[in-house]
Symmetry: D2
Subunit: 276 residues, 4 copies
């Protein structure tokens, strides 16, 4: 019994290489996370445990794949920038999209209990992923500016909305009505005058999202002062991708920041992200 | 602060619809499962717990996606057939590939402890996924015949190999050498003459892989006699995808079989799989 | 001076294979033929010279490419069906689309003076081409039915429109107004009652379009009774594609028909078109 | 009789947009031009009439499509650079490839007798076309350097080869043998010592190929001194693409150059080619 007479079906698989010399952005989004956050009673407007779990899964991807040079997350989504010269999985689209989505998902479920020690995971969550290519550094800057702008808009709305509901006693319908037609300034004013909240003092994690960057560890400065916020890739983890990779990816420290990535400062401080 | 000046980056996302009127086969493969099975001490040549966990995750996909009409699994891979008229995620390739891979992975990790109650999951496993389109029923028959033929070839080799090692005291190098150039008949002979093993009496799960089919539950015959082998979609699970789906996908029973899918009998018994 | 340091740019070319086992329909459309027909004073509603020139160019494609098994043309468009097992240009999309469009265009210009002996070609016309894949014979039947239905609708409209203008003395604006909201029966009635035209007696070329089929020439019946309507591939023309092709494509006669291709009769008479 | 029941077949056509923000290179190659040049007795190693006909067809493309900012031709091939911001045919791949290939072919046949007044066109020639995308100016520079390097290598070989045959009395087999293993220096030496030919004095058209650039015509300097080498787009030609285009594409003069495009000089002189 030989497989040869059926093997022709393999030839139906079509190649799907991603264009060379272009930046890849891989973005993940939670699938039906509105329901997922309700079932697991995420705090509103932001649940720090849920956000930290997302960051943890994102870090795992960056540990595994040295060609990811930047990540940005907010709410139930995360974007990853791959170097434009990456040859990860020979730039095959389905392979990259499926593998990264799978590894992120796996980490999310695996590390759940670390961030939600008192909350049982009721059912397995899932994510969808996509890749978008960009030809130059300008579009990459604008892509991440787009996501951080979105973070700001959503968070200001949600913060005000939940203040009206939780502290102002409005129903959700009333709160939506209160906010209809308002601009940023109005929402800041509502927060301050009615609830004494100065929006700019809200934790930067909520206002700016999470930014993960990679820095080469100096041999003599390899000290972690903040275990929760930075992780060094251990030899063990690296071994996972084989010896060859270990040589190519020297240990790097992953830093989680909650800073502005729209203005030039960030990009000037981390010039390697866009450099080749 | 408006997102509008950056939103143009969205237009770089390219459409990736899969051709209409064609059968979709979605296949998952474990990523670096050689190492994963070593670390978690899977029994050789087959670990029933690992295979049942794969089946469990596959069933979860079929519960969630009514357009999957057949699944076939062996070792660390699983193939799923979607109806050729499916409009799942508007037939967008990256969306389908990433979502299905994510949900399978999530179930694998989520249900791990149910199948490996005494084995801690050491690190999060991952899978890759791909979609191949086929124009007609003939190629679908041949695709599944190809996978089941592969199951047979691999399992006969592995069964003989591990008998030589575990019972025959050969090193793995010696066992590979013993098997070099042998055909099926030779391996059957080695198993029988040296180890008293009649290959055809080995559990069909190992020889044939797992076949999952869906049958509409008759209103009055809705009785589960074998809890482990068949599951009825509960209202709770269905709700997950919303009311509309609940109406379209009446409760179906998922049956796990370990039967031949190369010859006509199976396809004659389940004519709906290839029908539209 | 070696080209090697620049040759890397070749690797940016992406593969574009068309799915195996599917029917290919290649369709050409005249680019800006409204203007082209005005400049060259095509007779209205149909110019037999222009239609015969299209047929001539279409025949040239079928002579050159033995895998084209059917063609259908109307007005300034032509559709070609390629066998689903064709390996023409390794099924590379851009190669097939560009080559077929080029050869058709070349023939159109080359043979212009044969069909328009008294009309100078004022400027070079052009066509665009596209390929659409279909999984089964049913869609192919329906594709050609769609085009022939379109031929009927357009020709009935145009015939009535130009009768109103040329014989009825209406301006084009008035003629459009007269026809607004009319159905087929109304147009037939206008033609008959006002102009004594029985639409069904109009030449079938205009009502049905042109259908080109291929039949293997019987060695002893190789006689052409109608030079204008059928052509046998000469050795000279065949040589063009090399000896190998000559062996694979025995001389076939190309027949131009103006028959119904919506009903079963045509397909029953030419069963090889959809067979593999 | 309505077309609606068949119109569903239109939905099988898949979108094929080319990534935004990238340079497009469209390249044409003659199909079986070895035979074509034999049948039409092109002079060896270069036929100036054939090359000028190619240039003429290339100019026609640039007149029609204002988004082509550079063209380079050699032998039976031509490459065209489209602005990276072009929205020609909504960047649909098959539409662009087929239309440009068709218009080039049409011009080639249409203008044949102007360049070959004494040679009848024996049969219609054809071309294939393809599009390759490049993300940045660097790859565009290297693409054109690759093509011009190729021109040099081929022309030096052919010039020496035909000198050995036409002047040296060698058979073609002998000439190939003579050149086997030679480098550029050797071929220059053969040309000079045996045939008194200084390769660098051969017409630049043959050594460098043809470069077509576009320059905006100054209102008061609109004088053509060299009819054969430069052409101004007439209002008539422009009208072809409609009024809107006429406004967007002010008259430009197309210059045919035979200069080096590998070094910086050319690109410094025509900075607009790579600018957006």
């Amino acid at each position: 019994m030989s497989g040869s007479k059926y093997e022709y079906v393999k030839r139906y698989e079509l190649p799907d290489p991603l264009m060379l010399g272009t930046y890849m952005v891989f973005r993940l989004d939670g699938h039906s996370f509105h329901r997922f956050s309700d079932v697991h009673k995420f705090t509103k407007p932001n649940d720090p445990r849920a956000l930290e779990l997302m960051d943890c899964a994102a870090q795992a991807l960056m540990k595994e794949y040295g060609d990811i040079v930047l990540a940005f997350g907010e709410s139930d989504e995360y974007s990853f920038l791959l170097r434009k010269s990456t040859s990860l999985h020979n730039r095959r689209q389905a392979k990259i999209v499926s593998t990264l989505t799978s590894l992120f998902t796996s980490n999310y479920v695996f590390h759940w209990s670390k961030f939600f020690p008192d909350v049982a995971l009721e059912y397995p969550p899932s994510f969808d992923g996509r890749i978008v290519l960009y030809p130059s550094a300008k579009e990459i800057r604008d892509y991440f500016a787009w996501r951080q702008t979105d973070t700001h808009i959503n968070n200001l709305y949600n913060t005000t909305f939940w203040a009206l509901v939780q502290q102002g006693g409005q129903t959700t319908t009333e709160a939506h009505a209160t906010l209809r037609g308002t601009v940023s300034k109005d929402k800041n004013e509502i927060l301050f005058s009615r609830f004494g909240i100065n929006y700019s003092t809200i934790p930067p994690r909520y206002r700016k999202g999470s930014v993960i960057v990679r820095e080469k560890t100096e041999p003599d400065t390899d000290v972690h002062t903040n275990e929760q916020q930075s992780t060094q890739e251990s030899g063990l983890t690296q071994t996972r991708s084989g010896d060859q990779k270990e040589l190519k990816n020297p240990p790097t420290k992953l830093e989680i920041l909650h800073c502005d990535i729209i203005k030039d400062d960030f990009w000037n401080e981390y010039p390697k992200i866009l450099e080749e």
